[in-house]
């Protein structure tokens, strides 16, 4: 009863189906960019208030 491997294509070939993003690489870059933005904002926040 161990399930057979799924017939899914190469993981990077699958479209993320997210408006504005054609590839998963673009999604990851967006998330990474968001993370960098958060760190920058927290740094500014620290400089302003701490």
């Amino acid at each position: 009863m161990t399930p057979a491997p799924r017939p899914e294509g190469p993981p990077e070939a699958e479209s993320p189906n997210v408006p504005g993003f054609d590839t998963w690489r673009a999604v990851y870059l967006f998330v990474f960019g968001w993370f960098v933005l958060i760190v920058v904002l927290l740094t500014v926040f620290t400089a302003m208030f701490a």
Binding site: A4, P5, R6, P11, F32, F35, L42, F45, T46, F49
Partner: protein, 565 residues
């Protein structure tokens, strides 16, 4: 607590559990029971991953952390988005392609059965022992503050989660997570609103944020390379990446949340949802703590927030003197903050600097009195529990919130406890069934109904074990820290096994198996012979496993382990 609070609390918590059990009462497919509904969307997966990670202690302790030490703790989560990207790009596609129920099946596919059993065993050992703590930790705090007896709280929480997790398995867990997260969001929003509304007149939100900053609570990022500093950008990035990769990539309680769904896309988007929201969410919860600090400069509060512990020991005149000293220090701090607000409005930089220094000195004095209170408690009883920051937020809830909202916030705590517990039980039951029971009963693997029965029994057994352990935990003083240490001792080697599996294709099963055994032995020996921070054992265990695997592979024959190439 009045009748309205009880109605809100019971209706939300029991209602969600009953709904989950009822909706999933007819789950007959092993696949649905272990991996959840095949049509689960990315939003539900994302919320389920979030609910699994955030236990009740998150919502109790993190505001206390912000109150006591400021919001620098947010840096601990800096490695998390990067780890989730790696999990999405490397771990998840492999789990999906092999169509596994557990992460440890992947180790069996990549290496051999002995390595799979080793990985599953390490998970069961650490997660099984930690299972009691996720019930015990919030129960002890809530029952202490509300004066409820501890054991019935533990048993009631445990039984509730056992019922719906055993009934509907992973599908019930994901279904209830959605509603539990809704309760948590509504409750936390209510608490934040009440806190902002109740901030002192003349200070308001912006002034309170400025005051919290001036009092040293808003140092969010620290780029210092000083290794003695506990929270810096670097420890958060490297340590956080390491821990998050272990947790999200190899811990079945998380893996089970995202390997289901109709396609790879759903799991990936669910994880990216967490990568985007986690740091902002933790920032908000920490800010609640920082604002509570300002709030309590203007609101009478006990010198020690765990009042049950304080009343137990604070009997003589020395403690009365500390209480009086604390009230005086608070009054001085309050007037110093008012003076600073006026100086700030005057646009006179010199006056503002002087007032700020006076405010900080007054706050430091109040802090010193609190430290004195803790020292007095320890002097009265060396076994006294002197960490009271976990009690700050719950004290605010029961003393400042209107009735109804108190019930809702207590529902938040129980929803969080149930959500993380349910994921753990489901993962423990699944791993015990798939990786152990099936290994020793290979002929029974084809009987789906029998597999379901066994999975249900294992889930129930782990639930009963967790409740029993939580009941026992009341007798042990430093159990929570002990469990964290235990996790750090085993997590590193477990991650090492997976990193070798993914990235070192030439290493075979026997090399990694014996390397993991040797690495685990090394970590245990180091733990008993060295005095270093226990988080380092994550790094040591992982590095030792990877390096020893490479070394052993050069000695062992190429075919050892079977699937190296």
């Amino acid at each position: 607590m009045n009748v309205v609070d009880w109605i809100v609390l019971l209706a939300t918590i029991v209602g969600i559990a009953a709904y989950g059990a009822w909706r999933t009462r007819q789950v007959r497919s092993l696949n649905t029971y272990l991996r959840g509904n095949a049509s689960t969307g990315w939003g539900t997966i994302g919320l389920s991953v979030m609910a699994t990670q955030a236990s009740a202690i998150t919502y109790l302790s993190i505001p206390g952390q912000g109150f006591e030490s400021g919001i620098g703790f947010v840096q601990n989560y800096f490695g998390l988005p990067l780890a989730l990207i790696i999990v999405c790009a490397v771990f998840l596609p492999m789990y999906r392609r092999l169509n596994v129920y557990t992460a440890y099946q992947f180790l069996g596919e990549r290496f051999d059965e002995k390595t799979r059993l080793l990985g599953a065993g390490l998970f069961l050992l650490q997660r099984g022992l930690a299972a009691g703590v996720t019930i015990y930790a919030p129960a002890i705090i809530v029952s202490t503050v509300l004066g409820w007896p501890l054991d019935p709280v533990i048993v009631a929480t445990g039984l509730l989660v056992i019922v719906y997790t055993v009934t509907g398995g992973s599908e019930a867990v994901a279904l209830t997570h959605r509603w539990q997260m809704a309760v948590i969001a509504a409750g936390m929003l209510t608490a934040v609103t009440v806190l902002i509304v109740r901030l002192p007149d003349g200070l308001h939100f912006t002034g309170s944020v400025a005051a919290a900053g001036a009092l040293g609570k808003l140092h969010a990022v620290d780029f210092s390379l000083d290794p003695s500093r506990r929270y810096t950008v670097w420890t958060g990035l490297f340590g956080g990446l390491f821990l998050s990769l272990s947790y999200f990539g190899t811990d079945q309680s998380q893996v089970q949340r995202y390997i289901g769904g109709p396609s790879l896309r759903e799991g990936r988007l669910g994880l990216m949802f967490n990568a985007v929201l986690k740091i902002p969410m933790q920032f908000v919860i920490l800010m609640v703590g920082a604002l509570l600090f300002v709030f309590y400069q203007f609101t009478p509060h006990p010198v020690f927030f765990n009042q049950a512990e304080w009343r137990r020991h604070a009997q003589d005149s020395r403690f009365r003197a500390i209480e009086a000293e604390h009230a005086q220090a608070l009054a001085q701090s309050q007037s110093a903050i008012h003076a600073w607000v006026q100086a700030r409005a005057s646009d006179d930089a010199r006056r503002e600097a002087t007032a700020r220094a006076a405010m900080v000195a007054a706050s430091d004095r109040a802090r010193a009195v609190r430290a004195e209170a803790r020292a007095a408690l320890l002097a009265a009883d060396p076994r006294a529990k002197v960490k009271d920051s976990d009690y700050v937020f719950i004290t605010f809830i029961v003393t400042q919130l209107p009735h109804g909202a108190i019930g809702l916030l207590l529902a938040v705590m129980f929803a969080a406890a149930l959500s993380s517990k349910a994921s753990e039980l489901s993962a423990l039951g699944t791993t015990a069934t798939i990786d152990f029971w099936r290994h020793f009963r290979p002929l029974a693997a084809a009987d789906e109904a029998r597999n379901m029965r066994v999975a249900r029994r294992f889930t129930a057994l782990w639930g009963i074990f967790a409740v029993a352990f939580a009941l026992f935990a009341g007798f042990a003083e430093n159990l929570i820290e002990a469990i964290n240490i235990l996790g750090s001792i085993f997590y590193g080697v477990l991650l090492g096994l997976f990193l070798v599996a993914f990235f070192l294709r030439r290493v075979g099963g026997s090399a990694v198996f014996f390397a993991a055994i040797a690495a685990q032995t090394l970590v245990i020996v180091m733990y008993f012979s060295l005095n270093i921070g226990y988080l380092w054992y994550n790094l040591i265990g992982c590095t030792a496993c990877v390096v020893l695997s490479l070394a052993l592979q050069t000695i062992l024959p190429r075919h050892a382990g079977g699937r190296a190439s």
